[in-house]
Symmetry: C2
Subunit: 436 residues, 2 copies
């Protein structure tokens, strides 16, 4: 992509309304723009990251045998009346009347709709377990939308729902999603810790929040220091017994401010950190299936009410969470897996035939090698280009200048994360990107 | 994907509510299910097609230098008041009040929002032309939602908007989209003809509807018979002059029932057909840019109001349109480019060790070759399997049965479109799929 033909409206000044670093940087990097309170346009750079994050979520869930569907944004309220949540959900649920005065909700979540799909189509234990998920826009009418996408109103959520014939099977579904989540966040370059969460009236301990550690995080969290050196499991077989992985990740202490006990967080080896919730896994039991009468025949031919679990990831919230966890005073530092582009070619002397020629060659070679690459071909001063490119945070910069080309035909290779600069031949610079 | 673990809830009976063939087949093939009037769940098979259609649209628009963004579903009504359409749009626009009594519209289209993005960010002719598009859910509160997704209320639309500094440039943007549309529909295996459409108060002739020819189409259309042998241009350079392509495709007569004149359709070589509108390109002039004051400085440093065009494709409508154009009495016949799976392996004797072994081997080899393949491993009778697989319309079937394996280790290779069956060795059958 040529920068001059693209659309990255960066801002020089810090926008006044942005109170947190991710909101500030997303606005400044031209990733989003506000349309209304808690409602944002995704500009090209932001959308590319959102799509890469979605693709990782999709890919890892599919590996864990979850099946993608898509439920509409508008839901008939009759289903919410059936589940008993029509009144309980309160003003956060946006209620809408159509031209025939029929009432709908802009889905804040989809337990009712997915249970309705299940009960209408699945009748036997033989067709289970089933885990249906979708990545769809949701709306929650927050009293005070703030912090940009961190607490927006229209937001993109991945919500998965498992259906099992009994509690033992439901636990296995829970472990599968728990394990998939470890992989999902690791692939995004995030240090994420599952923390025991409140299970409310459902009871038990099958509820975990996945918390990204970030110095600028919204809430205080506590965890055993060994979590910092625990890596997500590799190459998991999702048909195997995942209890050992679950136990490994839940045997150490980890809790948010809301649920921690004072005696626990004072213990040795417990560290205090800041965190951002990006996902939650939750065993629901028969809460919805009983109300909506989602029953199947078990292996004895008897009707049983199914066991459910729900599993959310705030996809549009993950984007600012990554920025909170990975930035410096110059701007964003994208982990490679979610970066809008892997590399940028910066032409310092646009209009000078030799730098144009070499920059163009590098750009074309990277395109031919299927590298997602940006070419900064703008008629701008070097200072502006350095600043903008550090701000938007593409992992690798190949900087082409007249001086280097005259002095042995070299270019500069800069790694955004470390700031490290190397003087390399064009060939060496290309290999650094293509070889990766 | 293993059929037994997947979720394809096919129906044996024709659903009573479905009046058109695409609606009937989408319900029967378990692609969608109705949630409410004009509002549908996309089940796995339907969603896969929707995603493949979206990906073709995205890919071809990117080639034509359009830039993807994403605008929210909810739009503040102030922008609609500014454009003068708040009252004009009428009851088809779903209007919503949030908890603070602020009014929003569920976007039926996005001219206002995209013009707002443009005017806030682009100030100079140097940053033009620009064409911004998004693929996003829209809502139109139809009086009588019907024909399934053909006339739904919540629907997925690709809407692109071009911005140019003058009329000459705007025409070029129009030709680019016109040409991209020819490629988009051709890639989906559709015979699509651009037909002159009404330009209303804007005048001129820069408005075309793209009509898919299908015997079961909703409207009567007329076109020169040479259109049937005209193919979309190949390998177009979108930076070149596209006027010749535009002229080639508009020099022959083509018109819908609404705009045709009786003397024209009586001429020689004009054929009568049925069609379905799947896209429209429309030159807007300054209709929105004047009202919303979208101005840039031209090359003389003078402020000019920008010229716009809008370009829609009903992405969720294309799916049933493809079915209308490509089906038989047994079910859907997917063109390969949009098929939910490219091939299906049908095990006729599930549970018999030899057919299980061979079927599994074929399935694994296709997976390893990155073929999107379904494996029908259900414990069902051959008749049920044949029926379901013809219904869901995957292009190629490899049928593995005990008898064939005993008689020289052969399988059957069936092409869904022609019904042609060949008896082949496993190796030959695999090569037919992988070689393609």
């Amino acid at each position: 992509m040529r920068y001059s033909k693209y659309f990255i409206p960066t801002l020089k000044e810090n926008p006044g309304e942005a109170q947190v670093v991710s909101h500030r940087l997303m606005l400044r990097a031209g990733m989003i723009s506000q349309l209304s309170a808690g409602i944002y346009n995704w500009l090209p750079l932001g959308l590319k990251v959102l799509q890469k994050v979605s693709e990782i979520v999709r890919d890892e869930l599919n590996k864990a045998s979850a099946i993608e569907i898509l439920m509409p944004t508008l839901q008939p309220v009759e289903l919410w009346q059936e589940s008993g949540r029509y009144d309980a959900y309160g003003a956060e649920m946006l209620r809408i009347k159509d031209r025939n005065n029929r009432e709908y909700a802009y889905g804040p979540t989809a337990e009712e709709v997915v249970t309705d799909i299940f009960r209408k189509n699945i009748r036997s234990y033989k067709d289970m377990p089933k885990n249906l998920y979708n990545i769809q826009w949701k709306f929650r009418d927050e009293t005070r939308p703030r912090f940009g996408l961190m607490r927006g109103r229209e937001f993109l959520m991945k919500d998965a729902y498992s259906f099992d014939v009994d509690y033992e099977a439901a636990k296995k579904s829970y472990y599968r999603m728990f394990t998939a989540y470890l992989n999902i966040f690791e692939r995004m370059g995030l240090k994420t810790i599952p923390m025991q969460a409140d299970t409310g009236p459902i009871g038990g301990n099958l509820s975990h929040e996945f918390i990204v550690l970030a110095e600028t995080g919204e809430s205080q969290v506590y965890c055993h220091k060994d979590f910092l050196k625990t890596d997500a499991p590799q190459g998991v077989d999702f048909d195997s017994d995942l209890l050992p992985i679950y136990e490994k990740w839940t045997s150490l202490y980890a809790a948010t401010d809301e649920v921690c006990k004072e005696e626990d967080i004072k213990k040795e080896d417990i560290i205090t950190a800041r965190g951002i919730e990006v996902g939650q896994v939750f065993y629901l039991g028969k809460k919805y299936s009983e109300k909506l009468k989602a029953e199947v025949l078990n292996d004895k031919g008897q009707p049983v009410t199914v066991e459910m679990g729900c599993y959310g990831i705030g996809v549009s919230r993950v984007v600012p969470a990554i920025i909170e966890a990975s930035h410096d005073e110059h701007g964003i530092i994208w982990p490679e897996s979610v970066a809008p582009f892997k590399a940028v070619v910066i032409n310092l002397n646009q209009g000078v035939s030799e730098t144009d020629k070499v920059s163009e060659e590098i750009y074309q070679k990277l395109l031919n090698a299927k590298v997602d690459v940006l070419y900064d071909d703008r008629n701008e001063r070097a200072g502006v280009k350095f600043k903008d490119n550090d701000l938007i945070g593409i992992p690798y910069q190949i900087i082409v200048g007249k001086k280097g080309l005259e002095n042995g035909g070299v270019v500069e290779f800069k790694t955004r994360k470390t700031g490290e600069k190397e003087t390399l031949s064009v060939e060496e610079a290309l290999n650094k990107i293509i070889g990766k």
